[in-house]
Amino acid sequence: QAAEVHLSVAASMTDAIKELDAAFIVDHPDVTMLPNFGSSGSLAKQVAQGAAADLFVSANPKWMSYLETEGKIAPQTVRDLAQNTLVVVGPQKTAVNSLQDLEVMERIALGSPGSVPAGQYAQQAMRAAGVYDRLAAAKKLVMAKDVRQALLYADRGEVDAAFVYGTDALLVQKAVVLYTVPANLHDPIYYPMGLTIAGEKNSAARAFYDFLASPAARKILAKYGFCAPGAGAAAK
């Protein structure tokens, strides 16, 4: 009987997970991988409502702990899959040396802090730099619905700067990375993962969970700009 593994994965890891899947089934040809990509929030709600999921990969510890309290995740299986960095991208002309430099700008895009983890980290960083409240009061902040949208704005020159993940910065076409936000200005950017209660009983899911900790998996993750948990900094 063919085993199925249902994955619920934050959309920002789409490509990495697809490659990890492909690598995994080379050794497990009898397993069918069924990844479901979406925003961490909607994935969490699906899992909370009993949707089929064995492994949940969140872009944000908040939604992981939400599911833990809902009792949907086996708590002992929760660990970090990867880490990311926060960078500021923008059209080439501007030079940014610190977050204070953002104050001269007209428009700054970030993921909506309420819903987008990257936005939340950006908020933390700006708060730590002491510029957030003034920027917000001046209505200079454009809250994007996800990181990709913030990146799009920067790429098309609609904003002067955008906070995105280091991994996303690999996707830019016209814009460039202006500044890498120091890791001490925000919480560590973790991608926590955990097996669901159902997933814990699925041996194929457990095998994949273990595979994700393997050096082979690490290499794939690194290829897409993610660094190993605890490593601290990202590529570039």
Binding site: A11, D15, L34, N36, G38, Q46, Q49, A52, R148
Partner: protein, 229 residues
Amino acid sequence: MLNLSPQDMQAIWLSAQVATAATLISVPFGFAVAYFLVFVRLPGKALIEGVVNLPLVLPPVVVGYLLLLLFGQSGVLGPLLQSLGIRIIFTLKAAVIASAVVGFPLLVRSIRTGMEDIDERYLQASRTLGARWWDTLLTIILPLSGRALLAGMTLMFARSLGEFGATIILAGNIPGVTQTIPLAIYEYTNTPGGDRMALSLCLVSIVISFAVLLANESVSRKFRQRTTR
């Protein structure tokens, strides 16, 4: 020019299935609701109309979330469905339901306008000729609102092709299972260099809807020829 991956082809095929199924399944309900709203005299009709319009007023994501609350395992209908062995969430059924719900107000509104424009005197004539209400419904109202029904179906089909928000919540975004064109487009926009691919899929959507539109036009023209000089 278009280079579509096998996964894209799957998405197109799924989208076509979902749009078709959602449209066809909704037609009888939409027709019944429109009939009710136009011809049945009852207080509180406005309320029903309000409910029908909900999926239009609410952001699709909210609609999807509400549907999740309804069909989820810990939802209202979940346990019942589970006892019947029916799984909705993360299946194509969910995509069909999401599309059907979101497009429903469009269908109903269109049929309604058509029904309201039927000359009452035809209904009077049919009734004096011995036709009961359901008979009049089938033989007079249905054919005379045929064009409006078709228009509504086209609207709904087109809307289904573009449905994203409710679908991704209720059906998930699982390539090859529930990933319809809009979800695939979404995925491409999350991928480096995916914009070209996204554009290809948009074009496919446009071509499909265009074909449906033309089919609708020609059928509709026949209707029109048959009913006016």
